[in-house]
Symmetry: C2
Subunit: 738 residues, 2 copies
């Protein structure tokens, strides 16, 4: 275990490396040649153009103005300057709500840290356990943690034996004094634990308060956003799935009939989804069309075929209504008494639709979810088995067998030791890099119909993985499977004890983890090294036209499914250590503050969201935060019960009950704002629109809103060679109009 000085050195080193990243970023972003890497969003919006062709050639690539380098941290205040409303307008509500998670981290952990340093650190510091136990390796950090508070049972035992002792020395004045002192000391030890218990209540109540206010605010933001939003196709549209086949009618006729009967006054039109049957073909088309020119004619033919083939139509449709009110009614009600057919849900916005999953029958869905749940269980607890297998294959002998010509090189001593040392680690690293993709594939198999729900679902899976394999895995040695086995053979009350007991000892490890994974990760995030290299490579070898350059530019997007579970891990660490080792908290706070600035910058300048869900992921964030709080409470109970203060566990028992109740309450109070669109709001918006635009032709407006991207004339899936010149021009024009 490292002591305080070692941690300080490590922190300084990590801060330095993060600083180096920032300097590199500051220099690189000022070079015009990198402009499209660091400000792609402005290009996408047409506000920023390629550097002007006029002027000296060098300045087109390198920034020679020395003054700009001095203010190299300028981007930070710049990132913070844009007001929230403008940011919503600029980047969408999803991004704004997402960066609020970091702010929430500051709001929750900040006051916790202040309180902990004012109250708990002094209480821990004046405990004497660790000084007394000279033979145990302890360090300064442990002295600030709960480990330094003496064990209740030992002190009480001491107290019990004292009268005997006093008796033997025949109650001199000295022993009386000693006795009184010991009683006081024992009371003080008890007092110390009560301070911890009271503080954990204060922490929980503060977290509840902040979470409640935040949930309320996010819900209000979402409602304001939905209310202020311009007319959008998804406001009038409902996704209908599992349309039962009809022997006499085509699917389209059947749907039209059904809705004309059941929503006689408000049904407007519908579009059936394409893609279920021809899903893979369509994708193949995308792929080839962007690669090989000669296939484009075949593609056109295929497209023709798909459009005319009735079998290619899947049993799902986007049904549009004359008013938002009617759409809201249709999305929230059940049509058939068989709840597995005519399933309606609020349509995701057109970009958000995940076309392939529209037409999965109900029974298949339940089977798929069962299978994926089982697969997730095995992935979390047994992922080391295939990795170990690949690692056993990817040894020197294996490589020599497959690539015999490499043998002389490999047999070199230095190369050999390099391979032996790094290969297993690299295999694991590759798996961890691939993991989010694997989880996303699993979510896709589960059959969710929008990209936003896929992201949310994958995030849930990743959160579980991190919880078991990073958090628990770091505290308890051994693979997740071994943990599982231990846990199954331990009493349920022992689990929080086992984990809780080792929590204080792992504080230094997690501090290092926060610095290496958290701080450095964020600094790497802003540097965008991979997109930078790829952009320049593409620019050098592939880019020929202006549109090529446009496509070489990869703004990326907020990867909710990967980032959010990681934030949850830092929340968990903050909450767990707030009552145990408060020294860890400042590191978490720096992470949140730094991340907040960086992601605000990225959201403003870089990321281009693929869809807009109106912050619909907040209930998940809230729930997972409460799971973290619950875990921290259970672990504290476990830890305190190993300190032999019997009453402490009982005194803490109401905390998890309160937490669960708070979850239930918030869910009932706010969740529906993220799932449903209320009739009152719909009616208000409808009335307003009817008053301002009485002659609106909604049918024309909705005509091509929900059409699979391949069938859209102007989609960027389109091979540019197929598009007539004038269309291509308008395409560029619309993109460029400021």
């Amino acid at each position: 275990m490292a002591n305080l000085r070692e941690i300080s050195v490590s922190a300084a080193l990590n801060l330095l490396s993060a600083f180096a990243f920032l300097v590199a970023f500051a220099i690189l972003r000022l070079q015009p040649i990198n402009d499209r890497v660091y400000f792609p969003k402005w290009y996408r919006r047409g506000i920023r153009n390629s550097p002007r062709r006029s002027g000296v050639c060098v300045t087109r690539f390198v920034n020679l103005d020395w003054r700009t380098y001095i203010k190299f941290l300028n981007w930070m205040p710049a990132a913070l300057r844009m007001p929230e409303l403008e940011l919503i307008d600029h980047a969408g509500l999803d991004s704004v709500v997402y960066i609020r998670i970091y702010l929430l981290g500051l709001k929750v952990i900040g006051p916790l840290a202040v309180l902990a340093f004012l109250v708990l650190v002094p209480v821990n510091w004046t405990g004497e356990t660790l000084e007394g136990v000279k033979n145990l390796a302890y360090n300064d950090i442990d002295k600030l943690s709960i480990s330094n508070v003496p064990d209740g049972s030992k002190s009480s035992e001491e107290l019990l034996h004292l009268p005997e002792y006093c008796y033997t020395v025949k109650f001199s004045f000295c022993t009386k004094y000693l006795f009184r002192f010991s009683v006081m000391r024992f009371q003080f030890i008890l007092f110390r634990f009560w301070v911890h218990i009271v503080m954990s209540y204060v922490f929980a109540l503060w977290t509840f308060y902040v979470l409640y206010v935040e949930y309320k605010e996010v819900a209000a933001m979402r409602l304001r956003y939905l209310a202020s939003e311009n007319r959008r196709p998804d406001q009038f549209t409902v996704l209908v799935r599992n349309v039962p086949p009809d022997p006499d009618e085509t699917v389209s006729e059947h749907i039209e009939h059904f809705f004309r009967v059941n929503h006689p006054d408000s049904y407007l039109t519908h579009q059936t989804g394409f893609g279920g049957v021809v899903g893979t073909k369509v994708d193949a088309i995308d792929y080839y069309s962007s690669e090989i020119q000669k296939l484009s004619e075949a593609e056109a033919l295929e497209r023709e075929k798909v459009l005319s083939d009735p079998k290619a139509i899947v049993l799902a449709a986007f049904v549009s209504f004359k008013s938002r009110w009617a759409a809201a009614v249709c999305a929230q009600t059940q049509f058939s008494h068989n709840p597995t057919i005519w399933l309606t849900e609020w349509a995701p916005e057109p970009r958000d639709v995940y076309w392939r999953n529209l037409a999965i029958p109900y029974f298949d869905l339940t089977i798929r979810r069962l299978l994926m749940a089982i697969a997730l269980f095995f992935l979390i607890f047994f992922f080391m088995i295939p990795i170990a297998f690949v690692q056993s294959l990817a040894n020197i002998e294996g490589i020599e067998k497959v690539f015999p010509f490499l043998t002389p090189l490999i047999e070199t001593k230095s190369v050999r030791s390099f391979i032996q040392g790094f290969l297993p680690g690299i295999v694991l690293k590759i798996f961890l890099i691939l993991l989010p993709t694997i989880l996303m594939m699993m979510s896709k198999v589960e059959g969710f119909s929008s990209r936003s729900s896929l992201d949310r679902r994958s995030a849930g899976k990743y959160h579980l993985f991190l919880l078991v394999n990073v958090f628990l895995g770091s505290i308890i040695t051994g693979t997740a499977f071994q943990q599982l086995k231990t846990f199954l053979h331990q009493p349920p009350t022992e689990i929080p004890k086992t984990v809780g007991e080792s929590i204080p000892m792992k504080a230094t490890f997690f501090i290092t983890y926060i610095m290496v994974d958290g701080w450095a990760g964020i600094a790497a995030e802003i540097l965008r090294l991979v997109p930078l290299v790829i952009f320049h490579l593409k620019n050098m070898f592939l880019v020929k036209t202006e549109q090529d350059r446009e496509e070489a530019m990869d703004p990326g997007c907020l990867n909710f499914a990967t980032y959010e579970p990681k934030i949850q891990l830092y929340f968990l660490l903050g909450l767990v250590y707030s009552a145990v080792t408060p020294v860890l908290l400042p590191f978490v706070i720096i992470f949140f503050a730094f991340s907040y600035v960086v992601f605000r910058h990225q959201v403003i300048n870089v990321y281009d969201q693929r869809y807009e869900s109106g912050g619909s992921f907040w209930p998940d964030v809230h729930r997972r935060l409460l799971i973290g709080l619950l875990i921290s409470q259970l672990l504290l109970m476990g830890l305190l019960s190993t300190k032999n203060i019997e009453k402490s566990t009982i005194a803490l028992l109401p905390l998890p009950v309160l937490t669960i109740w708070f979850h239930v309450y918030c869910k009932g109070r706010f969740q529906s704002a993220f799932v449903r669109f209320s009739l009152q709001d719909a009616m208000t918006k409808d009335t307003l629109e009817r008053a301002t635009e009485p002659n609106l032709n909604l049918r024309a407006y909705l005509k091509d809103a929900y059409v699979h991207p391949v069938f859209k004339g102007r989609s960027h899936f389109e091979s540019p060679l197929l598009v007539p010149d004038e269309e291509n021009n308008t395409l560029v024009l619309t993109r460029r109009s400021s």
Copy 2:
């Protein structure tokens, strides 16, 4: 432990006593004087009248026709004869669906018993464990149970040591033979366990099949019932709760306004609920009015006051619509973006409304449910503490203190020993009799707004209580709290082992339990001893008019909250013992068959349901049955793992996963039929009605549908003295018209 003969004797005795009950019932029911006790339903429906006054006086009270006594079991076929459709018409869907639970018991457990006796009993019987262990007390029943199958580890150990043995005797022909025999024996033992494992899969699949078919059938019955039902106020009406107060408008105006805006085309009218503020007063009125005549004027005044006082109006309303379609839409959609106000739900039928709970704010509701959940936990695990306290008070000394004049009597030796022996038992018995009432009070505090949901909720609580305190409590000795403590300090895998291991040993106990509690309970049910005595007492002392006699007659109703959890206990026993000790199954089957006939008779002749919910309790029945199945599977896994067959636990692992998946699937597939009314069905019914009755005045029809019983002119809460004579006559007339 009793052996097979003892069990047979006990069974014979119990059958005899049940038979005695039946004979008593057969005799009593034939006496005209008891007619109103055993056929109250027909009186209520006006089809049966009091015995004719003509004829000899004796025959008015006693049946002298000896021929009727011979056919004393005639009521059984008579009870079975009424076809189901007629029964629905006669007794309502709730009753019909309820007695189907017993039939379901036969369908599930019957084939299980046949299979178990064909396959498992021979396999168990030919095991030799218990014959080998001579010093252990075992009995014939254990020989038929899984206990008789030898332990896997011992046999395999034997097998491992055999080669050594063979080596020492130098491989004679004899040892070779012995070796081969032992291998065969070991394989046979393994085979026996595999038979149990395969059979438990067969049992689970059969249960799934029957449950699925039953759920489907009940859902279909409910849908047919709703479709064929006559026009009823609740079809057009939605219960709106948590109406936000408005500073400018009265509640009534506010509601009218709100719905005119948000449902402009379909809103018809509304009735606000009375009772929140004046709830207790109203009840007081009921009480006094039926007791003291002189208060009736004060009552009239009070009623006047309530009707004119705006503060007495609670923030809840019954809002009616012009069509069922609009009501269905309103019940299923969310109005405000704040999901805690303007809460809408499908209105319960007028009789089903629980008026007092209509106006509880959302926050109060969540707090109430939290408190009741905690209270339920303590009730289940700590109920013995207050009982022990009362028992400690209710001893001889306590009685002597409170009633000193009883001292001489109590000090008599025989009385003293009687009190000492019986008093503690009586205190416990009184608690158990009061328990359903306590649970119902708790459900009322939770704030459910209909009697049917109160019943369902109480049943859930009672089910938990029986599960912990009767099922687990009988298997593991010690109070529920001690069990809880043991379980908390045991690994989760140990719990099924501990419980599972003692399961076979408790078979005889549960067989006796089924006979005493089940068989005798049902026989007592049909005899209706308490209503019989009370009716005759009332008849003797209180009854003066014909209406008094009408009111003295207490038909009672199916007490779902108490009966259903008890059925679940028998299901649980059947499922748990099906793979362990199949001998128990016939006893369960007899219980189900006997109950089916008895309750069919009661439903036809006696019970008068207080409300009709259309079988909406079925999802609960289904879920609890699956919980029973799950428990049986976990216990079998625990039991087999103590038999040291390692693979058996793994082989059984898919079973609980399958069970949970089946639950999720059925829930998605069927549950909504019990919660929502589909738009398609509503539209069909509306269209039909519009065609057949184009001039229907719905407003007049709905005018007084949802009015608190006290404010209704013709309610039986009404003190008869207040009602003018002619109204009283029509009242009797409507009741009597066949």
